[in-house]
Protein backbone atom coordinates (compact mmCIF):
# COMPACT_ATOMS: atom_id res chain seq x y z
CA UNK A 1 0.00 0.00 0.00
CA UNK A 2 1.35 3.44 -0.84
CA UNK A 3 2.01 5.82 2.01
CA UNK A 4 -0.69 8.18 0.78
CA UNK A 5 -3.26 5.45 0.88
CA UNK A 6 -1.99 4.31 4.29
CA UNK A 7 -2.19 7.82 5.69
CA UNK A 8 -5.74 8.18 4.39
CA UNK A 9 -6.79 4.96 6.05
CA UNK A 10 -5.12 5.87 9.32
CA UNK A 11 -6.75 9.29 9.31
CA UNK A 12 -10.09 7.68 8.66
CA UNK A 13 -9.58 5.32 11.61
CA UNK A 14 -8.66 8.26 13.82
CA UNK A 15 -11.75 10.13 12.71
CA UNK A 16 -13.99 7.15 13.39
CA UNK A 17 -12.54 6.74 16.87
CA UNK A 18 -12.99 10.41 17.66
CA UNK A 19 -16.62 10.20 16.59
CA UNK A 20 -17.19 7.08 18.69
CA UNK A 21 -17.96 5.04 15.59
CA UNK A 22 -15.94 2.03 16.68
CA UNK A 23 -17.75 -1.23 17.38
CA UNK A 24 -17.07 -3.37 20.41
CA UNK A 25 -17.53 -6.93 19.28
CA UNK A 26 -17.82 -9.44 22.10
CA UNK A 27 -17.25 -13.09 21.36
CA UNK A 28 -19.48 -15.33 23.43
CA UNK A 29 -18.16 -18.83 24.12
CA UNK A 30 -20.50 -21.75 23.78
CA UNK A 31 -21.07 -22.65 27.43
CA UNK A 32 -23.67 -25.38 27.90
CA UNK A 33 -23.76 -24.81 31.66
CA UNK A 34 -24.34 -21.47 33.34
CA UNK A 35 -21.16 -19.44 33.08
CA UNK A 36 -20.43 -16.45 35.27
CA UNK A 37 -17.89 -15.29 32.69
CA UNK A 38 -20.51 -15.19 29.94
CA UNK A 39 -22.76 -13.18 32.24
CA UNK A 40 -19.93 -10.72 32.82
CA UNK A 41 -19.27 -10.45 29.08
CA UNK A 42 -22.90 -9.57 28.53
CA UNK A 43 -22.86 -7.07 31.35
CA UNK A 44 -19.90 -5.30 29.84
CA UNK A 45 -21.58 -5.26 26.42
CA UNK A 46 -24.95 -4.15 27.72
CA UNK A 47 -23.45 -1.35 29.79
CA UNK A 48 -21.69 -0.01 26.72
CA UNK A 49 -24.86 -0.33 24.68
CA UNK A 50 -26.89 1.62 27.28
CA UNK A 51 -24.33 4.39 27.10
CA UNK A 52 -24.44 4.85 23.36
CA UNK A 53 -21.56 2.64 22.26
CA UNK A 54 -21.93 0.32 19.28
CA UNK A 55 -21.91 -3.30 20.40
CA UNK A 56 -22.25 -6.64 18.69
CA UNK A 57 -22.28 -10.17 20.09
CA UNK A 58 -20.61 -12.92 18.07
CA UNK A 59 -21.70 -16.36 19.19
CA UNK A 60 -19.35 -19.30 19.06
CA UNK A 61 -22.38 -21.59 18.61
CA UNK A 62 -23.25 -22.53 15.05
CA UNK A 63 -27.03 -22.21 15.45
CA UNK A 64 -27.42 -18.71 16.91
CA UNK A 65 -28.39 -20.19 20.26
CA UNK A 66 -28.15 -17.52 22.93
CA UNK A 67 -27.35 -18.39 26.55
CA UNK A 68 -30.72 -18.84 28.33
CA UNK A 69 -29.42 -17.72 31.71
CA UNK A 70 -28.46 -14.19 30.70
CA UNK A 71 -30.94 -11.40 31.53
CA UNK A 72 -33.47 -11.10 28.73
CA UNK A 73 -32.81 -7.42 27.99
CA UNK A 74 -29.17 -8.28 27.27
CA UNK A 75 -30.21 -10.89 24.76
CA UNK A 76 -31.78 -8.08 22.71
CA UNK A 77 -28.29 -6.91 21.72
CA UNK A 78 -27.41 -7.60 18.07
CA UNK A 79 -26.21 -11.21 17.77
CA UNK A 80 -24.84 -13.39 15.03
CA UNK A 81 -23.16 -16.73 14.94
CA UNK A 82 -19.46 -16.50 14.06
CA UNK A 83 -19.79 -18.98 11.26
CA UNK A 84 -22.67 -17.16 9.59
CA UNK A 85 -21.63 -13.64 10.29
CA UNK A 86 -20.80 -11.21 7.50
CA UNK A 87 -20.11 -8.49 10.03
CA UNK A 88 -17.59 -5.96 8.75
CA UNK A 89 -14.72 -5.53 11.15
CA UNK A 90 -12.87 -2.25 10.69
CA UNK A 91 -9.52 -1.03 12.00
CA UNK A 92 -11.22 1.18 14.60
CA UNK A 93 -13.13 -1.78 16.08
CA UNK A 94 -12.34 -3.82 19.16
CA UNK A 95 -12.71 -7.58 19.35
CA UNK A 96 -13.16 -8.74 22.96
CA UNK A 97 -12.21 -12.40 23.24
CA UNK A 98 -12.55 -14.60 26.36
CA UNK A 99 -9.46 -16.52 27.43
CA UNK A 100 -10.90 -19.92 26.56
CA UNK A 101 -11.22 -19.18 22.84
CA UNK A 102 -7.61 -19.50 21.66
CA UNK A 103 -8.93 -21.17 18.48
CA UNK A 104 -10.80 -17.96 17.69
CA UNK A 105 -7.74 -15.89 18.56
CA UNK A 106 -5.81 -17.85 15.96
CA UNK A 107 -8.49 -17.19 13.33
CA UNK A 108 -8.71 -13.46 13.93
CA UNK A 109 -5.09 -12.57 14.66
CA UNK A 110 -4.51 -11.01 11.28
CA UNK A 111 -7.66 -8.84 11.37
CA UNK A 112 -6.87 -5.10 11.40
CA UNK A 113 -8.91 -4.36 14.55
CA UNK A 114 -7.68 -4.30 18.17
CA UNK A 115 -7.93 -7.67 19.90
CA UNK A 116 -8.51 -7.54 23.66
CA UNK A 117 -8.38 -10.49 26.02
CA UNK A 118 -11.26 -10.84 28.48
CA UNK A 119 -9.56 -12.68 31.32
CA UNK A 120 -12.02 -14.09 33.86
CA UNK A 121 -10.16 -17.27 34.74
CA UNK A 122 -6.42 -17.74 34.82
CA UNK A 123 -7.02 -21.46 35.15
CA UNK A 124 -8.97 -21.58 31.90
CA UNK A 125 -6.40 -19.34 30.22
CA UNK A 126 -3.56 -21.71 31.03
CA UNK A 127 -5.68 -24.66 30.00
CA UNK A 128 -6.44 -23.09 26.61
CA UNK A 129 -2.90 -22.05 25.65
CA UNK A 130 -0.54 -24.62 24.21
CA UNK A 131 2.87 -24.66 25.92
CA UNK A 132 5.16 -21.85 24.84
CA UNK A 133 2.36 -19.78 23.34
CA UNK A 134 1.31 -16.51 24.90
CA UNK A 135 -1.60 -14.24 24.10
CA UNK A 136 0.60 -11.71 22.37
CA UNK A 137 1.25 -14.38 19.74
CA UNK A 138 -2.34 -13.70 18.72
CA UNK A 139 -1.67 -9.95 18.41
CA UNK A 140 -3.24 -9.32 21.83
CA UNK A 141 -1.64 -6.65 23.97
CA UNK A 142 -4.55 -5.53 26.12
CA UNK A 143 -6.25 -7.52 28.85
CA UNK A 144 -9.49 -6.84 30.73
CA UNK A 145 -9.64 -8.13 34.30
CA UNK A 146 -12.11 -7.58 37.12
CA UNK A 147 -9.76 -7.61 40.05
CA UNK A 148 -6.30 -6.30 41.03
CA UNK A 149 -5.25 -9.73 42.35
CA UNK A 150 -6.09 -11.31 39.01
CA UNK A 151 -3.96 -8.69 37.30
CA UNK A 152 -1.02 -9.36 39.63
CA UNK A 153 -1.19 -13.09 39.08
CA UNK A 154 -1.70 -12.71 35.33
CA UNK A 155 1.24 -10.33 35.06
CA UNK A 156 3.49 -12.78 36.90
CA UNK A 157 2.53 -15.61 34.51
CA UNK A 158 1.89 -13.96 31.14
CA UNK A 159 4.17 -10.97 31.45
CA UNK A 160 3.56 -7.34 30.69
CA UNK A 161 0.36 -6.38 28.99
CA UNK A 162 -1.86 -3.34 29.12
CA UNK A 163 -4.21 -4.32 31.91
CA UNK A 164 -7.61 -2.69 32.22
CA UNK A 165 -9.58 -3.32 35.37
CA UNK A 166 -13.28 -2.87 35.92
CA UNK A 167 -15.27 -3.31 39.08
CA UNK A 168 -17.76 -6.15 39.33
CA UNK A 169 -21.28 -5.08 40.25
CA UNK A 170 -24.05 -7.20 41.70
CA UNK A 171 -27.45 -6.45 40.13
CA UNK A 172 -30.17 -4.85 42.22
CA UNK A 173 -32.42 -7.87 41.81
CA UNK A 174 -30.18 -9.63 44.30
CA UNK A 175 -31.97 -8.50 47.41
CA UNK A 176 -32.53 -9.81 50.86
CA UNK A 177 -35.62 -11.38 52.36
CA UNK A 178 -36.14 -11.11 56.08
CA UNK A 179 -37.13 -14.59 57.18
CA UNK A 180 -34.99 -17.28 55.68
CA UNK A 181 -35.52 -21.00 55.44
CA UNK A 182 -33.25 -23.57 57.10
CA UNK A 183 -32.10 -24.72 53.67
CA UNK A 184 -28.56 -24.54 52.34
CA UNK A 185 -28.08 -23.55 48.69
CA UNK A 186 -25.05 -24.75 46.83
CA UNK A 187 -23.08 -23.89 43.74
CA UNK A 188 -20.11 -25.83 42.51
CA UNK A 189 -18.24 -26.36 39.27
CA UNK A 190 -17.99 -30.05 40.03
CA UNK A 191 -21.06 -31.98 41.17
CA UNK A 192 -18.83 -34.59 42.83
CA UNK A 193 -17.60 -31.96 45.27
CA UNK A 194 -21.10 -31.22 46.43
CA UNK A 195 -22.08 -34.88 46.72
CA UNK A 196 -19.00 -35.43 48.85
CA UNK A 197 -19.80 -32.52 51.14
CA UNK A 198 -23.49 -33.33 51.55
CA UNK A 199 -22.90 -36.99 52.32
CA UNK A 200 -20.11 -36.13 54.79
CA UNK A 201 -22.36 -33.60 56.47
CA UNK A 202 -25.18 -36.05 57.10
CA UNK A 203 -22.78 -38.70 58.32
CA UNK A 204 -21.05 -36.36 60.75
CA UNK A 205 -24.21 -34.58 61.88
CA UNK A 206 -27.10 -37.07 61.66
CA UNK A 207 -29.29 -34.94 63.92
CA UNK A 208 -29.45 -32.40 61.09
CA UNK A 209 -30.85 -34.95 58.66
CA UNK A 210 -34.07 -32.99 58.20
CA UNK A 211 -32.29 -29.99 56.74
CA UNK A 212 -31.80 -29.91 53.00
CA UNK A 213 -29.43 -28.68 50.38
CA UNK A 214 -30.76 -26.97 47.27
CA UNK A 215 -28.87 -27.01 43.98
CA UNK A 216 -28.94 -23.61 42.28
CA UNK A 217 -27.20 -24.57 39.06
CA UNK A 218 -28.63 -24.12 35.56
CA UNK A 219 -30.91 -21.23 36.37
CA UNK A 220 -31.18 -17.83 34.77
CA UNK A 221 -29.54 -15.17 36.89
CA UNK A 222 -32.87 -13.71 37.96
CA UNK A 223 -34.30 -17.11 38.89
CA UNK A 224 -31.08 -17.82 40.75
CA UNK A 225 -31.38 -14.55 42.70
CA UNK A 226 -34.99 -15.33 43.59
CA UNK A 227 -34.15 -18.78 44.99
CA UNK A 228 -30.93 -17.73 46.68
CA UNK A 229 -32.50 -15.14 48.97
CA UNK A 230 -34.98 -17.60 50.48
CA UNK A 231 -32.32 -19.75 52.15
CA UNK A 232 -30.16 -18.79 55.10
CA UNK A 233 -26.78 -20.00 53.78
CA UNK A 234 -25.05 -21.14 50.62
CA UNK A 235 -22.09 -23.39 49.99
CA UNK A 236 -19.57 -22.43 47.33
CA UNK A 237 -16.82 -24.69 46.06
CA UNK A 238 -14.73 -23.16 43.30
CA UNK A 239 -11.00 -23.36 43.78
CA UNK A 240 -10.14 -22.11 40.30
CA UNK A 241 -12.29 -19.02 40.23
CA UNK A 242 -10.23 -15.89 39.62
CA UNK A 243 -12.90 -13.65 41.06
CA UNK A 244 -16.06 -15.50 42.03
CA UNK A 245 -19.12 -13.31 42.32
CA UNK A 246 -21.18 -15.91 44.15
CA UNK A 247 -20.09 -14.87 47.66
CA UNK A 248 -20.92 -11.27 46.80
CA UNK A 249 -24.33 -12.31 45.49
CA UNK A 250 -24.87 -14.15 48.78
CA UNK A 251 -23.85 -11.12 50.83
CA UNK A 252 -26.20 -8.87 48.88
CA UNK A 253 -29.00 -11.39 49.42
CA UNK A 254 -28.37 -11.59 53.17
CA UNK A 255 -27.29 -15.22 52.74
CA UNK A 256 -24.30 -16.54 54.67
CA UNK A 257 -21.57 -17.75 52.29
CA UNK A 258 -19.83 -20.95 53.34
CA UNK A 259 -16.94 -21.91 51.15
CA UNK A 260 -13.49 -23.14 50.38
CA UNK A 261 -10.99 -20.31 49.88
CA UNK A 262 -10.07 -20.22 46.17
CA UNK A 263 -6.49 -20.30 44.88
CA UNK A 264 -6.42 -16.61 44.06
CA UNK A 265 -7.00 -14.48 47.14
CA UNK A 266 -10.19 -12.42 47.13
CA UNK A 267 -10.41 -9.45 49.44
CA UNK A 268 -14.02 -10.19 50.32
CA UNK A 269 -12.90 -13.36 52.07
CA UNK A 270 -12.10 -12.23 55.58
CA UNK A 271 -13.08 -12.87 59.18
CA UNK A 272 -16.78 -12.34 59.68
CA UNK A 273 -17.65 -12.21 56.01
CA UNK A 274 -18.76 -15.85 55.98
CA UNK A 275 -17.64 -19.30 57.04
CA UNK A 276 -14.41 -20.12 55.22
CA UNK A 277 -12.07 -23.09 55.23
CA UNK A 278 -9.17 -24.31 53.15
CA UNK A 279 -10.26 -27.86 52.64
CA UNK A 280 -13.47 -29.36 51.23
CA UNK A 281 -13.47 -31.92 54.05
CA UNK A 282 -13.83 -29.11 56.59
CA UNK A 283 -16.97 -27.78 54.95
CA UNK A 284 -19.42 -30.03 56.86
CA UNK A 285 -18.15 -28.55 60.13
CA UNK A 286 -18.62 -25.01 58.81
CA UNK A 287 -22.12 -25.87 57.61
CA UNK A 288 -23.03 -27.40 60.98
CA UNK A 289 -21.70 -24.33 62.77
CA UNK A 290 -23.71 -21.97 60.60
CA UNK A 291 -26.85 -24.10 60.90
CA UNK A 292 -26.58 -24.32 64.69
CA UNK A 293 -26.21 -20.57 64.99
CA UNK A 294 -29.16 -20.05 62.68
CA UNK A 295 -31.44 -22.51 64.49
CA UNK A 296 -30.59 -21.05 67.88
CA UNK A 297 -31.15 -17.56 66.48
CA UNK A 298 -27.79 -16.42 67.76
CA UNK A 299 -27.39 -12.79 66.70
CA UNK A 300 -24.68 -12.66 64.06
CA UNK A 301 -24.56 -8.90 63.90
CA UNK A 302 -20.88 -8.64 63.07
CA UNK A 303 -21.23 -11.15 60.27
CA UNK A 304 -24.20 -9.44 58.64
CA UNK A 305 -22.67 -5.98 59.10
CA UNK A 306 -19.44 -7.11 57.43
CA UNK A 307 -21.35 -8.76 54.61
CA UNK A 308 -23.38 -5.63 54.08
CA UNK A 309 -20.29 -3.45 54.11
CA UNK A 310 -18.54 -5.61 51.53
CA UNK A 311 -21.47 -5.94 49.14
CA UNK A 312 -22.03 -2.17 49.22
CA UNK A 313 -18.66 -1.79 47.48
CA UNK A 314 -19.91 -3.76 44.48
CA UNK A 315 -22.89 -1.78 43.27
CA UNK A 316 -24.20 -1.82 39.72
CA UNK A 317 -23.75 1.92 39.50
CA UNK A 318 -20.05 1.85 40.44
CA UNK A 319 -19.50 -1.12 38.17
CA UNK A 320 -21.11 0.53 35.17
CA UNK A 321 -19.04 3.65 35.62
CA UNK A 322 -15.85 1.58 35.79
CA UNK A 323 -16.86 -0.34 32.66
CA UNK A 324 -17.50 2.86 30.69
CA UNK A 325 -14.18 4.29 31.86
CA UNK A 326 -12.36 1.11 30.89
CA UNK A 327 -13.60 1.08 27.33
CA UNK A 328 -13.12 4.83 26.95
CA UNK A 329 -9.52 4.29 28.04
CA UNK A 330 -9.15 1.53 25.49
CA UNK A 331 -10.33 3.93 22.82
CA UNK A 332 -8.22 6.88 23.97
CA UNK A 333 -5.08 4.73 24.30
CA UNK A 334 -5.67 3.33 20.82
CA UNK A 335 -6.13 6.86 19.55
CA UNK A 336 -2.79 7.92 21.04
CA UNK A 337 -1.08 4.92 19.47
CA UNK A 338 -2.57 5.54 16.05
CA UNK A 339 -1.89 9.26 16.15
CA UNK A 340 1.75 8.55 17.03
CA UNK A 341 1.81 6.04 14.21
CA UNK A 342 0.38 8.63 11.84
CA UNK A 343 2.96 11.18 12.95
CA UNK A 344 5.70 8.67 12.28
CA UNK A 345 4.36 7.86 8.83
CA UNK A 346 4.00 11.52 7.93
CA UNK A 347 7.48 12.24 9.21
CA UNK A 348 8.86 9.34 7.21
CA UNK A 349 6.98 10.48 4.13
CA UNK A 350 8.29 14.03 4.51
CA UNK A 351 11.84 12.75 4.91
CA UNK A 352 11.44 10.62 1.82
CA UNK A 353 10.09 13.58 -0.11
CA UNK A 354 12.93 15.79 1.09
CA UNK A 355 15.38 13.08 0.12
CA UNK A 356 14.02 13.21 -3.44
Amino acid sequence: MSNIRLVENVKKTISELKENNQKFIFIVPNATLVSAEVQEIYRNAYTLHKNGFKVHMLLETKDDEKPFYVDSEMLELPHTSMDKSNLMIDPQDFLIIPEVLTNVMERVKSLPCTKVLFLASIDYALHSLIPGVNFRDFDINSVIVNNKNVETTARSIFGEYNFYEYRVGIPEYFSTKNLKRPVISFVSRNSNDITKVVKSFYLKYPHFRSFMFEDLSNLSRKQFAEKLKKNFAAVWIDRISSFGTFPLECMKSGVIPIGVVPEIYQDYIRDNSGFWCNNTFDLPDQIAKALSLYLEDVPMTELYDTMNEIQSEYTEEASEKSIIDLYKNLVSNKLVLIENYLNNIEKETNEQNEGK
Partner: protein, 262 residues
Protein backbone atom coordinates in the same frame (compact mmCIF):
# COMPACT_ATOMS: atom_id res chain seq x y z
CA UNK B 1 -52.80 -7.57 81.28
CA UNK B 2 -50.41 -5.26 79.44
CA UNK B 3 -52.14 -3.89 76.36
CA UNK B 4 -49.19 -4.46 74.07
CA UNK B 5 -48.44 -8.06 74.96
CA UNK B 6 -48.79 -10.46 72.11
CA UNK B 7 -48.87 -13.81 73.81
CA UNK B 8 -49.62 -15.66 77.02
CA UNK B 9 -47.76 -18.69 78.31
CA UNK B 10 -50.21 -21.24 79.75
CA UNK B 11 -48.60 -23.29 82.47
CA UNK B 12 -50.65 -26.21 83.77
CA UNK B 13 -49.30 -27.72 86.98
CA UNK B 14 -50.78 -31.03 87.99
CA UNK B 15 -48.66 -31.97 91.01
CA UNK B 16 -46.63 -30.32 93.70
CA UNK B 17 -43.45 -31.76 95.15
CA UNK B 18 -39.73 -31.08 95.40
CA UNK B 19 -39.06 -32.49 91.94
CA UNK B 20 -41.77 -30.33 90.36
CA UNK B 21 -40.42 -27.24 92.08
CA UNK B 22 -36.91 -27.85 90.74
CA UNK B 23 -38.21 -28.16 87.20
CA UNK B 24 -40.46 -25.17 87.63
CA UNK B 25 -37.55 -23.02 88.74
CA UNK B 26 -35.66 -23.92 85.57
CA UNK B 27 -38.68 -23.06 83.44
CA UNK B 28 -39.09 -19.74 85.26
CA UNK B 29 -35.44 -18.87 84.72
CA UNK B 30 -35.99 -19.27 80.99
CA UNK B 31 -39.21 -17.25 81.16
CA UNK B 32 -37.78 -14.44 83.28
CA UNK B 33 -35.81 -12.52 80.55
CA UNK B 34 -38.99 -12.08 78.55
CA UNK B 35 -41.50 -11.71 81.34
CA UNK B 36 -42.03 -8.04 80.54
CA UNK B 37 -43.17 -8.83 77.01
CA UNK B 38 -45.66 -11.61 77.69
CA UNK B 39 -48.25 -12.91 80.10
CA UNK B 40 -48.02 -16.00 82.29
CA UNK B 41 -51.11 -17.90 83.32
CA UNK B 42 -50.84 -20.81 85.74
CA UNK B 43 -53.67 -23.31 85.81
CA UNK B 44 -53.86 -25.72 88.72
CA UNK B 45 -55.89 -26.69 91.77
CA UNK B 46 -56.52 -24.12 94.46
CA UNK B 47 -54.26 -26.09 96.83
CA UNK B 48 -51.28 -26.05 94.53
CA UNK B 49 -51.84 -22.42 93.59
CA UNK B 50 -51.92 -21.50 97.27
CA UNK B 51 -48.62 -23.32 97.89
CA UNK B 52 -46.99 -21.62 94.92
CA UNK B 53 -48.13 -18.22 96.05
CA UNK B 54 -46.76 -18.85 99.54
CA UNK B 55 -43.39 -19.77 98.10
CA UNK B 56 -43.39 -16.59 95.99
CA UNK B 57 -41.37 -18.12 93.14
CA UNK B 58 -43.68 -17.05 90.37
CA UNK B 59 -43.46 -13.54 88.92
CA UNK B 60 -45.79 -10.96 90.42
CA UNK B 61 -47.71 -10.53 87.21
CA UNK B 62 -48.69 -14.21 87.06
CA UNK B 63 -52.37 -14.87 86.64
CA UNK B 64 -54.01 -17.97 88.10
CA UNK B 65 -56.89 -20.13 87.00
CA UNK B 66 -58.24 -22.82 89.28
CA UNK B 67 -59.33 -26.13 87.89
CA UNK B 68 -61.14 -28.99 89.58
CA UNK B 69 -59.19 -31.64 91.40
CA UNK B 70 -60.58 -34.20 88.96
CA UNK B 71 -59.31 -32.28 85.95
CA UNK B 72 -55.79 -31.75 87.19
CA UNK B 73 -54.39 -34.69 85.26
CA UNK B 74 -55.94 -33.67 81.97
CA UNK B 75 -53.54 -31.35 80.20
CA UNK B 76 -56.18 -30.72 77.57
CA UNK B 77 -58.80 -29.66 80.09
CA UNK B 78 -56.37 -27.41 81.87
CA UNK B 79 -55.37 -25.71 78.63
CA UNK B 80 -58.97 -25.37 77.41
CA UNK B 81 -59.91 -23.77 80.72
CA UNK B 82 -56.92 -21.42 80.70
CA UNK B 83 -57.53 -20.31 77.10
CA UNK B 84 -60.97 -19.07 78.07
CA UNK B 85 -59.16 -16.52 80.29
CA UNK B 86 -56.50 -15.48 77.77
CA UNK B 87 -56.69 -11.89 76.59
CA UNK B 88 -53.75 -11.90 74.18
CA UNK B 89 -54.02 -12.79 70.50
CA UNK B 90 -51.76 -15.79 70.86
CA UNK B 91 -50.96 -18.28 73.58
CA UNK B 92 -48.29 -20.88 74.13
CA UNK B 93 -49.11 -24.08 76.02
CA UNK B 94 -46.05 -25.11 77.99
CA UNK B 95 -45.07 -27.79 80.45
CA UNK B 96 -43.50 -26.89 83.77
CA UNK B 97 -40.54 -29.21 83.20
CA UNK B 98 -39.62 -27.63 79.88
CA UNK B 99 -37.56 -24.58 78.96
CA UNK B 100 -38.02 -21.64 76.65
CA UNK B 101 -35.45 -20.02 74.37
CA UNK B 102 -34.33 -16.92 76.29
CA UNK B 103 -35.64 -14.77 73.43
CA UNK B 104 -38.74 -16.84 72.73
CA UNK B 105 -41.08 -13.87 72.66
CA UNK B 106 -38.80 -11.74 70.48
CA UNK B 107 -38.38 -14.51 67.91
CA UNK B 108 -42.05 -15.47 68.04
CA UNK B 109 -43.08 -11.85 67.46
CA UNK B 110 -40.87 -11.65 64.39
CA UNK B 111 -42.60 -14.62 62.80
CA UNK B 112 -46.11 -13.68 63.90
CA UNK B 113 -45.67 -10.26 62.32
CA UNK B 114 -44.39 -11.81 59.09
CA UNK B 115 -47.76 -13.44 58.51
CA UNK B 116 -50.68 -12.71 60.79
CA UNK B 117 -52.82 -15.24 58.93
CA UNK B 118 -50.94 -18.15 60.48
CA UNK B 119 -52.97 -19.93 63.13
CA UNK B 120 -50.25 -22.16 64.59
CA UNK B 121 -46.49 -21.66 64.52
CA UNK B 122 -44.63 -24.89 65.25
CA UNK B 123 -41.03 -24.29 66.36
CA UNK B 124 -38.34 -26.93 66.47
CA UNK B 125 -37.93 -28.66 69.80
CA UNK B 126 -34.85 -29.98 71.47
CA UNK B 127 -36.11 -33.17 73.11
CA UNK B 128 -34.08 -34.14 76.13
CA UNK B 129 -34.20 -37.74 77.34
CA UNK B 130 -33.62 -38.26 80.99
CA UNK B 131 -32.48 -41.40 82.72
CA UNK B 132 -32.71 -41.22 86.49
CA UNK B 133 -31.77 -37.57 86.63
CA UNK B 134 -29.03 -37.72 83.99
CA UNK B 135 -29.47 -36.40 80.50
CA UNK B 136 -29.05 -39.44 78.31
CA UNK B 137 -29.33 -37.81 74.91
CA UNK B 138 -31.07 -35.06 73.02
CA UNK B 139 -32.59 -34.83 69.57
CA UNK B 140 -34.46 -32.37 67.45
CA UNK B 141 -38.21 -32.71 67.11
CA UNK B 142 -40.82 -31.09 64.83
CA UNK B 143 -38.00 -30.75 62.29
CA UNK B 144 -38.90 -33.24 59.51
CA UNK B 145 -41.33 -30.70 58.05
CA UNK B 146 -38.26 -28.99 56.60
CA UNK B 147 -37.41 -31.96 54.47
CA UNK B 148 -38.55 -32.22 50.86
CA UNK B 149 -39.10 -35.98 51.10
CA UNK B 150 -41.87 -35.33 53.62
CA UNK B 151 -43.43 -32.31 52.00
CA UNK B 152 -43.09 -33.49 48.38
CA UNK B 153 -44.89 -30.95 46.16
CA UNK B 154 -45.95 -28.76 49.06
CA UNK B 155 -43.83 -25.83 50.11
CA UNK B 156 -41.41 -26.92 52.81
CA UNK B 157 -42.13 -25.66 56.29
CA UNK B 158 -45.86 -25.63 55.76
CA UNK B 159 -48.16 -28.19 57.32
CA UNK B 160 -51.16 -29.35 55.36
CA UNK B 161 -53.80 -31.88 56.24
CA UNK B 162 -52.35 -34.13 53.56
CA UNK B 163 -48.88 -34.05 55.08
CA UNK B 164 -50.24 -34.61 58.58
CA UNK B 165 -52.01 -37.76 57.40
CA UNK B 166 -48.58 -39.34 57.00
CA UNK B 167 -46.65 -37.40 59.64
CA UNK B 168 -47.89 -37.46 63.21
CA UNK B 169 -44.71 -36.74 65.18
CA UNK B 170 -45.60 -33.17 66.09
CA UNK B 171 -45.64 -31.75 69.59
CA UNK B 172 -47.65 -28.60 70.22
CA UNK B 173 -46.14 -27.78 73.60
CA UNK B 174 -44.21 -24.60 73.13
CA UNK B 175 -46.06 -23.75 69.93
CA UNK B 176 -47.69 -20.41 69.25
CA UNK B 177 -51.45 -20.77 68.77
CA UNK B 178 -53.92 -18.09 67.75
CA UNK B 179 -56.39 -17.76 70.63
CA UNK B 180 -59.51 -17.01 68.60
CA UNK B 181 -58.91 -19.90 66.22
CA UNK B 182 -58.38 -22.31 69.09
CA UNK B 183 -61.67 -21.29 70.67
CA UNK B 184 -63.50 -21.32 67.32
CA UNK B 185 -62.28 -24.85 66.58
CA UNK B 186 -63.31 -26.12 70.01
CA UNK B 187 -59.90 -26.44 71.66
CA UNK B 188 -58.21 -29.71 72.51
CA UNK B 189 -60.35 -32.80 72.65
CA UNK B 190 -60.44 -34.20 76.15
CA UNK B 191 -62.06 -37.54 75.53
CA UNK B 192 -58.88 -39.21 74.36
CA UNK B 193 -55.31 -39.14 75.48
CA UNK B 194 -51.91 -38.81 73.86
CA UNK B 195 -52.88 -37.76 70.34
CA UNK B 196 -55.02 -34.72 71.13
CA UNK B 197 -52.38 -32.27 69.87
CA UNK B 198 -52.06 -34.16 66.60
CA UNK B 199 -55.86 -34.25 66.27
CA UNK B 200 -56.01 -30.49 66.82
CA UNK B 201 -53.58 -29.89 63.97
CA UNK B 202 -55.58 -32.15 61.67
CA UNK B 203 -58.74 -30.30 62.61
CA UNK B 204 -57.15 -26.89 62.15
CA UNK B 205 -55.75 -27.69 58.70
CA UNK B 206 -59.03 -29.36 57.71
CA UNK B 207 -60.72 -26.06 58.56
CA UNK B 208 -58.28 -24.13 56.37
CA UNK B 209 -56.24 -22.74 59.22
CA UNK B 210 -52.65 -22.09 58.31
CA UNK B 211 -50.07 -24.07 60.26
CA UNK B 212 -46.44 -23.23 59.65
CA UNK B 213 -43.15 -24.43 60.99
CA UNK B 214 -40.92 -21.88 62.71
CA UNK B 215 -37.30 -22.75 61.93
CA UNK B 216 -35.77 -22.02 65.30
CA UNK B 217 -35.03 -24.27 68.29
CA UNK B 218 -37.24 -22.38 70.68
CA UNK B 219 -38.27 -25.01 73.17
CA UNK B 220 -36.49 -27.65 75.20
CA UNK B 221 -38.84 -30.49 75.96
CA UNK B 222 -38.21 -32.99 78.73
CA UNK B 223 -39.27 -36.37 77.42
CA UNK B 224 -40.52 -39.16 79.67
CA UNK B 225 -39.75 -37.42 82.95
CA UNK B 226 -39.94 -40.08 85.62
CA UNK B 227 -43.15 -39.90 87.55
CA UNK B 228 -44.86 -37.64 85.02
CA UNK B 229 -48.45 -38.27 84.05
CA UNK B 230 -47.45 -38.77 80.44
CA UNK B 231 -44.79 -41.30 81.36
CA UNK B 232 -47.22 -43.20 83.54
CA UNK B 233 -49.83 -43.12 80.77
CA UNK B 234 -47.45 -44.53 78.16
CA UNK B 235 -46.53 -47.33 80.52
CA UNK B 236 -50.18 -48.42 80.65
CA UNK B 237 -50.81 -48.42 76.90
CA UNK B 238 -49.94 -51.17 74.47
CA UNK B 239 -48.54 -50.39 71.04
CA UNK B 240 -51.85 -51.39 69.54
CA UNK B 241 -53.68 -48.96 71.80
CA UNK B 242 -51.30 -46.18 70.87
CA UNK B 243 -51.85 -47.00 67.19
CA UNK B 244 -55.59 -46.89 67.72
CA UNK B 245 -55.35 -43.45 69.30
CA UNK B 246 -53.60 -42.11 66.19
CA UNK B 247 -56.14 -43.80 63.95
CA UNK B 248 -58.90 -42.32 66.06
CA UNK B 249 -57.43 -38.84 65.76
CA UNK B 250 -57.47 -39.24 61.98
CA UNK B 251 -61.20 -39.95 62.09
CA UNK B 252 -62.28 -37.43 64.69
CA UNK B 253 -60.74 -34.27 63.22
CA UNK B 254 -63.76 -33.80 60.98
CA UNK B 255 -65.80 -33.04 64.10
CA UNK B 256 -65.51 -30.01 66.36
CA UNK B 257 -67.48 -31.86 69.01
CA UNK B 258 -65.45 -33.76 71.60
CA UNK B 259 -66.98 -37.21 71.08
CA UNK B 260 -66.56 -40.41 73.04
CA UNK B 261 -64.38 -42.91 71.28
CA UNK B 262 -64.64 -45.85 73.61
Amino acid sequence: MKENNLLTFLLPINEFNYNVLNHLKIFLESYSPQSDKSELLVVSTSTIISELQKLGILPEITQYVENNETDVNSYQKQINLAVSKVKTRYFVPVEFDDELHLRYVEIGKRYIESNEEVSVWVPIHINVFNNNGTIERSQLFNDPIWNRTLTQENEIGKFSNEILQSFSAVNLSGCIIKTDDFIELGGFKTKFELTFMYEYLLRATHNNKIVEALPKTMYVHFVKRQGSYHENLLATLTQEEIGNLYAFAKKEFYFTEDRDYK
